[in-house]
């Protein structure tokens, strides 16, 4: 069938600068750049995914990628990308696949929320001169604390549930070995260890070589139960039951057989080359009571030494669901907003299902507080955190900590080309091809991740100091430190924030 699909991008090669070193030819797994018989280099625009690998590695900066502007008769409804998607489906009859998070221009509430700062009546704090506490504990907190004072020493009488200690309120979100390369997993584990925070295995199991990072690893138990065994649960600081994912609420996962090589096969405990299909629901969880059974099975299996988290996608009824999860015995609720990323999802689901995490955090925090059970669980927010400002606003809205993943990938080199599902990631991240995965040197990637989170922590300290707060705990759920611009009354009601300029009371 003659394809009607036109190229999305155009590669411009500045021949004044091109030295024909062929770095672009060697770096492109999509085979865009080619050497012709006479030795000259040419590029095939229609294969380009705009990952910018060639542009970044070109030693003379001779390459630029531009949008290929086809003339589509002016139409706000039938845009070029709408038409392209229809052509793709008309030619294949298939579901449109994509990677990464929702790119549509839905409102980004972070950009409508502004932070407070101290002026005159309350002193701001300089974090370079005074102590600033970013340490956060995740886990169920007791209703009250009983202490015994005898002979000048104080002893805690209340038995406190197991807690995760975070030196920064930022963790690396679930990304499985299979979706991402071993080197990417190792970099995340090493960075999490150095930062005093945690990485998350996703549903990929834990590679034996990463057992040494167990104290900074959260292991996931998802609907496919891939890679789950006794040792897996032991080699973890916390366990996470994955119910849903922000990028694809309500549907399962599918790791294509091509990505299941020897190592992935052993780690996931599935045959080489077989598709790893995670069902949409857990087939043993059809109610909060069922969820409770799994939570307590996992607690039993690990002798009540590790907190158990339940991860859900932010959906319409997120507040009530979270209340159920808290009552089911979870120690942590992870809420993944609709901008959360993925290695592969149907485009229509990624772009249209779920709700923004900003609203979800506020709704869940309010609900749990109203019910008097906020202390029973920690809230971890996920899905599209772009900067330290987003993180601090999430905490002010009521989250205890956040998960970052897309930002972590970008730090390692990802350019959000959304082609993770092809397995041809030129940056060595979302691939199992040994030639591509070695492009990600774990030494460099771990350093870049460390730097990113350290920089965000520094910025969070500065912003906290500016508000006159010396501990992140004091900001948690303190929505008076947020003010809204450009939001409707209803949106502000859900977020629990006042309009900018409104008085304190």
């Amino acid at each position: 069938m003659k394809s009607y699909i036109l190229p999305e991008f155009k590669i411009k090669r500045d021949n004044e600068r091109c030295i024909e070193c062929q770095v672009c030819v060697r770096q492109c797994a999509f085979e865009v750049h080619k050497v012709s018989q006479d030795g000259s280099i040419y590029s095939e625009n229609d294969k380009c995914v705009a990952c910018e690998r060639c542009v970044t590695f070109c030693p003379t900066k001779a390459l630029t990628i531009e949008e290929y502007e086809h003339y589509i008769k002016d139409n706000a409804n039938w845009t070029a990308s709408v038409q392209r998607n229809i052509w793709k489906q008309a030619e294949t009859g298939g579901v449109l696949l994509t990677g990464m998070g929702n790119p549509k221009p839905y409102p980004i509430y972070w950009d409508h929320l502004l932070l407070n700062a101290s002026q005159v009546t309350n002193p701001s704090i300089d974090p370079l001169r005074e102590p600033m506490e970013l340490r956060t504990y995740l886990g169920s907190k007791p209703e009250s604390l009983e202490v015994e004072i005898s002979g000048g020493s104080v002893r805690l009488k209340t038995k406190v549930s197991p807690q995760l200690k975070l030196e920064v309120p930022i963790m690396f979100s679930a990304m499985s070995f299979g979706a991402i390369s071993y080197n990417a997993c190792e970099a995340l584990a090493r960075a999490a260890t150095e930062l005093g925070t945690y990485c998350n295995t996703g549903e990929g199991g834990l590679h034996e070589k990463l057992y040494k990072y167990a104290d900074h690893t959260i292991v996931q138990v998802a609907s496919g139960r891939f890679g789950v065994h006794k040792k897996y649960l032991e080699k973890a600081a916390a366990l996470e039951i994955k119910i849903g994912q922000g990028a694809k609420p309500g549907i399962g996962g599918h790791l294509p057989g091509e990505k299941v090589g020897e190592e992935v096969s052993r780690t996931r405990m599935i045959p080489v080359g077989s598709d790893a299909l995670s069902p949409a629901p857990h087939h043993d969880i059809y109610s909060i009571e069922d969820l409770s059974q799994l939570i307590y099975s996992l607690k039993e299996a690990t002798e009540y030494t590790k907190p158990v988290s339940v991860k859900i996608a932010a959906v319409h009824n997120v507040a009530a669901i979270s209340s159920g999860i808290a009552r089911a015995g979870a120690d942590i609720i992870a809420i993944d907003g609709f901008r959360g990323g993925t290695g592969a999802a149907p485009t229509v689901i990624r772009d249209n299902v779920g709700i923004p995490v900003e609203l979800a955090i506020a709704a869940v925090d309010s609900r749990l507080r109203e019910e008097g059970i906020r202390n029973r669980v920690s809230i971890v927010a996920a899905g599209g955190f772009r900067s330290s400002a987003d993180v601090i606003k999430a905490i002010a809205l009521g989250a205890d900590a956040v998960y970052i993943a897309t930002a972590a990938l970008v730090a390692m080199g990802c350019h959000v080309c959304q082609k993770c599902y092809t397995g041809k990631c030129n940056w060595g991240i979302a691939t199992q091809d040994p030639k591509l995965s070695k492009r990600l040197n774990p030494d460099i990637a771990a350093e870049r991740l460390y730097n990113l989170v350290a920089a965000w922590a520094h910025e969070i300290s500065e912003m906290l100091g500016g508000m006159g707060i010396n501990a992140i705990e004091s900001l948690k759920g303190n929505r008076l430190h947020l003010r809204a611009v450009g939001l409707t009354k209803e949106e502000m009601d859900v977020l629990g924030v006042k309009v900018a300029g409104a008085p304190l009371s």
Partner: protein, 147 residues
């Protein structure tokens, strides 16, 4: 003991930028665009990336303790200096390619345009402390160290 360049095969991405920067470093202008586009004779790299399937690594003169090339060189162009480097004195080279034949690593390269051999001098001639290939490798796949 001397510092040598070692390749970390597990993170070599086969981009061959080491070759590019080596050639530029040993060019007349030491400017990448001028060197490649306008210089005659064309600048030659002293390093070669060996590649098969997903395995690749950059290879350059190993600066052997007992170099066969020095033993074999019929004009005395190849010599081992007091620091331990194997250096190539171009003015004495007649392009007989004996060193090319005897080197077990295949390190000396023929510069056909000038009829002379070129080989890694650990960037001694260019006054760098760390060889260009090591410093410019985008994936830290080359290290310069004593082993």
């Amino acid at each position: 003991m001397m510092k040598r360049v070692y390749a970390k095969e597990e993170v070599c991405i086969g981009c061959r930028l080491c070759e590019v920067y080596c050639a530029v470093e040993h060019s007349l202008s030491r400017d990448i665009i001028r060197a490649y586009k306008y210089e005659q004779p064309k600048p030659e790299p002293r390093v070669t990336v060996e590649e098969k399937e997903h395995i690749s690594f950059a290879l350059q003169c190993r600066h052997c303790d007992e170099p066969l090339c020095v033993e074999a060189c019929i004009t005395g162009a190849m010599m081992k200096d007091e620091s331990g480097r194997v250096i190539h004195r171009e003015e004495k080279c007649i392009g007989c390619w004996t060193c090319v034949l005897v080197c077990p690593y295949g390190a000396p390269r023929r510069d056909l345009s000038r009829g002379k051999v070129v080989k890694c001098d650990l960037c001694q001639s260019t006054g760098r402390e760390i060889p260009a290939c090591v410093e410019m490798c985008p994936n830290r796949a080359l290290v310069f160290e004593e082993r």
